[in-house]
Symmetry: D5
Subunit: 95 residues, 10 copies
């Protein structure tokens, strides 16, 4: 099932720059890995913000929480999850 996920990143300004660079690199690696596995079909940047909007395709809320809390930047993100359903006017849902 699909979930809409809004992530706002707020890394503290006083975090050690090397640690920060490391975290950002690990986050990217993990994000690519999850996208390759198929559970993270969409990932967009919000223009002008250190925030992103994603769509995840997972089996359950438990699975989604496990994925999100595995992100290296999880401790520095404010996340809002919105469950999605098929829209009756979605072209792909017409038979």
């Amino acid at each position: 099932m699909l979930f809409h996920v809004h992530m706002e990143v707020a890394i503290p300004h006083d975090l050690d720059p090397d640690r920060r660079a490391e975290l950002v690199a690990e986050e990217k690696a993990r994000a690519l890995e999850l996208q390759r596995s198929g559970v993270w079909p969409h990932l967009w940047r919000i223009v002008g913000e250190y925030s992103n909007i994603s769509v995840f395709d997972v089996d359950s809320g438990d699975a989604l929480h496990a994925l999100l809390s595995s992100l290296p930047l999880f401790p520095y993100m404010r996340i809002k999850v919105t469950p999605l359903a098929i829209h009756p006017s979605d072209l792909k849902a017409q038979s």
Copy 2:
């Protein structure tokens, strides 16, 4: 370019039921037409709400406004548009 669009529908309760049904049918027809044309790649229902989240792919803000204001339910919707950019960790953006 891509835009994230949140639409919340609020048709007045005292609208004539036939007019309402007509509007909803026209809205669906128009939505399918726009999806077929490629400008409306994603359309999801928010679970439990008469709201949806969409992604539009258009050439400009003017083009998007023309599309949105052409929707039959436009007078009854509260719309919030968020411009999107390619995310540096998007799998499709890796070379």
Copy 3:
């Protein structure tokens, strides 16, 4: 999977009293039916409000949206759905 659902009811004051009573009775019948089926394990009234807090146990967001939009009072409710996961400190989750 579990979803936390907050429903705020706002039936228009000028709705015909008989229609209102009918809707409320149908809502109760439907709520009891859904509870008996096991998909609606918890339903509480918020003190002082015409609102309730529920927990639903369904297979997907699509299933939940189908249930919620089948409620007779759905057109008059403002609903907010929050997906839940097992808490690591939940007694029932300890092995």
Copy 4:
């Protein structure tokens, strides 16, 4: 009587990691203890957040405040309490 409790945890990033781990372990022990005693019948994680939703069953507001402020993470939590009542459509309330 029942209370709905929303807890959002915000441990400062600069807290000593050992102290943090200690606090989290103590919190879990205390949470399990309270659940075993029957006063904390429901505890869920909100997907994607370091927040939880609980239901407490206590004799009074004083009793609930004593329980909540006894939690080791209490100084780092933002808590919102909502009193609950039996819902007239609750299956368990039908005679």
Copy 5:
């Protein structure tokens, strides 16, 4: 136990004036009756608003909901209930 209750009244402007006067008179009678019974120890008007702040002293959330929903103006009020506890610096709580 004590509850802090904020009530904001919003009677529709198009309600029949006689019905309105009747409701307001019934509300006052019921409020006085409840105050005399001891369950409603404090009732204040917020300056400049058609709102009030009250403290109720009842046995449970169910009892409070029964009282509040028995108020003739209940359908026209927006109510927010906050549970109270004894404050450790309350003079009356010192031994």
Copy 6:
């Protein structure tokens, strides 16, 4: 005249524990002193929060500001003051 006062306490986590304990003790002493003097007739804890709701009975806004800013925890509190008036349905206001 009466004022409703909501105080939310937020002592910084990195304040020296001894200084904190000292401040809390001084706050309690001052609160008791003011209650004995009659200007602070009601003081309640909000369940689950480090916040309180009070009613003050003072001659003027100047007098209230002098009292509130004399509280040892004043620099660490977020205070909201709401002026109160006699409610026409207050039992004590009936003649």
Copy 7:
């Protein structure tokens, strides 16, 4: 004592135009009368809004509520009252 008062006017669009004109004229007459009496020293329009910001100088919250609720447009206004105190840097407060 002084109170800061924000009034937002929202006369229903379907109010009879004659009744509306009558109310607005009565409001102006009452406002002038109160200003002449000295209790309403400042009255400003917020640019672009059907709102105003005022300062009242009255003996008590009860007196202010009596004045505000005597305004002909009171049933159509949303009012927020903020109590004021002498500022220690006010030129008029220096000796």
Copy 8:
């Protein structure tokens, strides 16, 4: 001096369609007239909304309020005015 003005239009759905068309036409004529006079240098539509963002160049707040309240749609708009100043990094402000 410059003011940033956000206008959100909300014409009631039950307004007579002819009256509505008339108002919209009058609004456009008045907007063009004001733009020609130089006091309304910028006017943009917010994509997806019946709202606009403008910049006005007027001598005073009184002048701006007179202009805004002369708009035919003024009774149906929610307006927020923000005063602007020259930005020290504005290219046009460099000497």
Copy 9:
């Protein structure tokens, strides 16, 4: 022209006490100087808050921004400016 200005002061708790006292003294001196010059006709404290409400009388938004940003506490204040106009019911505006 007149502007309504709301200033909320938030000096960091860890600022050196001497520097803080110095800033507060400089702020008071500057405030008195500006009041004497006639540009700052009203200054009130909000009861219970480290906030104030002022009215400034200046020639332009540029002039106001220059004044406000010259305040020694400006870096520690959250300021909201609202432009004012003469109210048609203002006693001083009647001829």
Copy 10:
């Protein structure tokens, strides 16, 4: 296409003053460079705030995000982007 951009600057108070001055100078240089290139046609200060309102003219959301994230103060700004369209009453849009 045009975007409305609101930027609120919040440089941490404990940033080294030299680093701060350096950043502010670099920000100004970059802002002037972008204005000269034509992509940043409007830049205004909000009176009383360390915030600005701008209009950007760019080819896409990606181009805008690249520009905004190239600003030296980007890590210390809270940015909100609103896409604009030509207004049908814009004088420049009339033929």
